[in-house]
Amino acid sequence: MAEIRLENIGHSYDQGATFALNPISLTWKDGDAIALLGPSGCGKTTLLNIISGLLTPSVGRVYFDGVDVTDLDTAKRNVAQVFQFPVLYDTMTVRENLAFPLKNRGLSKDVTATRVEEVAELLGITKYLDTRPLKLRSDLQQLVSLGRGLVRRDVPAILFDEPLTVIDQNFKWTLRGRLKELHNLTRYSLVYVTHDQTEALTFADKVVVLNQGNVVQTGSAADLFLAPEDEFVGFFIGSPGMNFIDGSVNNGSVNIGSTVIGTTSGDKPVANGNVRIGIRPEFLAVSSTSSGVNVKISRVEHRGGYKLVHADGPNGNVIAKVDSNSSLDAGKTVQLTFHPERTYIYRDSKLCGSVNVKGA
């Protein structure tokens, strides 16, 4: 496996009029599990295709272990790929499917057979070796697709393009766990494209969040969840996403309407003016207290394991995630309590400080 380095990579599908992917430089260490996460049209598939060689970037260079592969086609780059749909030959057994890439390279029968057994063992599909792939469940078929990439010993990286799309809910969990375990075992270099936050966050050590052709934040699941650097990350990660409440900063004091909720804190002072207070539903409490920002509960959704309290405040609606046995009801007026360490200030959609919550 290899270190992947992207140097000033960008792509335009219309001769430079607009960029689907704005030029970026990234380096991923050998053995990293990376996820590219974003909504459709964010540039994540463009980026993956540039790495696999399906697409030549308009600008920039791609290096695998320091070797410039920008002008090599997909076959020469030798990357393994797993797509949305399993790509398998149904006229062959699983064993023959796995052997096929090696046979094509003229490897001996013995070497091929041993390698196929090894990979099947690693993927936990040994007992299906003599089955036709279409007889298998879709998650097992995806493992076979992955196996076809893995049989080659010299692949620099394995690329996944939304591989769980056609998998049923329960097996999604199984396959996702299997991929994670595989990475723990092998430390292969993996790049995984998805729009599904849970898949990206659980799979990868490092998640690259893209929006409108730009990388907006790169970090671990905890980084992206606990401290979104951009409002988009706050919105896109988490379900429901982060609450943003209009507020203002006045000489270090942070206000929502006429209520002071705390003071600014952070590396840099926050200039006076309008801001947005960002707080995740998990860190927002609603209860009857003597002071604080008043909100009126508009509806309470019981989601089984937890409840979502929707409330209308002076500056828009907020959602708080509360315990399943909470007895809050619609119609009630309550006060918001902000988490002392997880209340942030955003301006022009960028994180610019946090709130030292009053009384906390």
């Binding site: 909504p39 459709s40 049209g41 809910q169 994670k180 729009h195 849970t198 969840f225 019981h302 089984g304």
Partner: protein, 356 residues
Amino acid sequence: MALEARNLTLIRNGEVFLEDISFTAKPGITVLVGPTLSGKTTLMRVIAGLIKPDSGSVTVNGVDVGQISVKDRSVSFVYQQFINYPSLTVFDNIASPLRVLKPKISKEEITERVHEVAKMLRITELLDRKPSALSGGQQQRVAIARSLSRSSDVVLLDEPLANLDFKLREQLRDELQRIFSDASMMVIYSTAESLEVLDMASHTIVMNEGRVQQDGPALDMYAKPKNIPVAQAMSDPPLNLIRSTTSIGGSESLSNALKDKHGGVFTVGVRPHNIALKSQGSADIPVSGKVRIAEYTGSSTYLHLDLGDSQELVLEVEGSQRFDIGSTMTVYLDRNALFGFDSSSGNTLFAPSGVR
């Protein structure tokens, strides 16, 4: 106003697609949930009149639709793969079902109706565009708008959000609930995902292997599933299912610890959020296993434990905690949150009180 399916059965080449399906859908959203191949799409196609059942009937507002030709049925169908006419503008796409209505309606009425549904689906500013110039989410909004334009009695939405981004789904689910909350039409919405079911919080029908397993409000089935397929359809992350013979330390097994709830050997079900790292009280049941993987979402950690004997337990713990892969640890099942299922029939033996 209601849609009633009575004893629908469909068998093709000896394979049972639908077996004795009966339910009533009232105005508003009815959610149809089940895994792939459980019969959801087939059932919708039968309701639409695209497939004739071997036996049984579908009546809409008291009229047996089997007696009405397909083109005269008041049914709209939206598929997972959004379908719009590529050469027509969004306006004309939405207007198309109105233009073939009999008796004919006036141009002014068509324009008014198109604007009304476009506003509902927030696509008014897209009316002059062609579908190819739209994002996937916008295209599906157009397809839904077209299905609503002629005010059919029945609207069938077959996994309409499956091809859309996770976040977009969240948003569109909210909007569909808003649009249909006081609608007079019967909307059947199918999905394979329990998150969607709990989010929609509507009347829900759980299907499995061509049969209706249970029918009722979503939360009721989450709390009191009739059997394993229903419990599974209502759990994401998936429900853990372990054998009651599983050792819980020493010579004790789960069966022993739960003998007041049910005697003998059965299957124990527990949702990942009802297992804790520390004992919460003496009623907790300790289970030991080896850490296989830890998955992080930022808000929580899914810890997979290998219990041996090819059994696995997944627990959901808050925050991002580190665990040593391969190490052995003891976790605690909340005794009051356990389900018991008959191991051969899958039927529920006992369920927690309340919503767990």
